[in-house]
Symmetry: C2
Subunit: 199 residues, 2 copies
């Protein structure tokens, strides 16, 4: 069997992911170039294509790791959070914000990667997203005990999207003028106000 080859490929694969991860984190997705990658990894450009279908596949591998780190950060924040479900939501949302701020270019790459139109998202993406959604829907179910599961699901998506929008536009320097503190304020404002008067 091809053990020798398999091992070499696995090592190259890992090395490429690490290099790409660093490149994206430091200079953004647009700085990812096949020739630079090959030069730094000490391999031929063609070797990249023995291990990944194309550069988008490599980017997706990096994104899987980024998304996993993001999920871990949110989970850790939740673990350290008080028992109050509203506070749990605020703490998690701010953890999301802080991850995005501290890993801006890597976080952007999650959404900027070229996705073939009409193709489903990869499994790991859906799984990781589902985990995040669970973190949100659990406190929500406590806050709104009378709502049906499908309503909770809609609330969950709405709140996640809202926080994502606040972070996205807040970190976008083009529209400028939003400080980190203000972003945290906006998040807390929306979540507290949203969960204020359960009916």
């Amino acid at each position: 069997m091809a053990t020798k080859t398999e091992i070499r490929r696995q090592e190259l694969r890992e090395k490429l992911i690490v290099i790409a991860e660093r490149t994206i984190a430091q200079n953004g997705l647009s700085a990812l170039r096949a020739r630079d990658l090959a030069a730094e990894a000490g391999c031929a450009v063609g070797a990249i294509y023995n291990v990944f279908g194309d550069l988008t596949d490599l980017t997706l591998a990096v994104n899987a790791r980024t998304f996993h780190r993001l999920g871990a950060d949110v989970a850790e924040a939740l673990a350290d959070a008080p028992g109050d479900p509203v506070e749990q939501l605020v703490v998690m949302a701010q953890a999301y914000h802080h991850f995005a701020a501290s890993n801006h270019l890597s976080w952007r790459a999650l959404f900027d990667v070229e996705r073939p139109a009409g193709e489903a998202a990869p499994d790991w993406y859906l799984a990781e997203m589902g985990q995040l959604f669970t973190y949100i829907s659990d406190p929500l179910a406590v806050i709104f005990p009378d709502r049906a599961a499908d309503e909770i699901a809609l609330l969950t998506r709405a709140l996640f999207s809202s926080v994502h929008g606040i972070v996205l536009l807040g970190l976008d320097e083009a529209s400028a003028g939003v400080s980190t503190d203000n972003i945290d304020h906006m998040i807390a404002l929306v979540l507290r106000q949203f969960t204020a008067s359960p009916k």
Copy 2:
């Protein structure tokens, strides 16, 4: 005085914007190619660069029009809306959603255009954005009469960002499974809940 030349340039400029607008609307920003543009406009590729600095400049010209149409749609919805400020917010947000859904690729181009890092957004962008923000802050000031102007400004930005996030992720087919109706529901849910218990 270069009248003949000026007129010709102005006509070419207009023609290129119209072609680019249609190309982006039909096939997305990534389908915008200098050679295709020149072929369709009946000019040399170099002529594009006599009239626009580069393709990004042309895209920005298209985006200015898209943003203006968006603003007009929201304004029209507001004009037809009832007097209740909460309903005004809902109607405007849903108008934003419907514009994004009906002009998906043009709307995406507003955010997907390559922006040189650390450079301020163009004036027309800030002006149009300011107008949208005014549409939101006016009803908010009625709903929360006791809040200071800077608090209203933060609320305005928070609500705009939230609605934007809901529309952005809702229209993104990769994360799939959100119908137009559900997006409208989420928008109404967030806005109504947010404005439910002024304290």
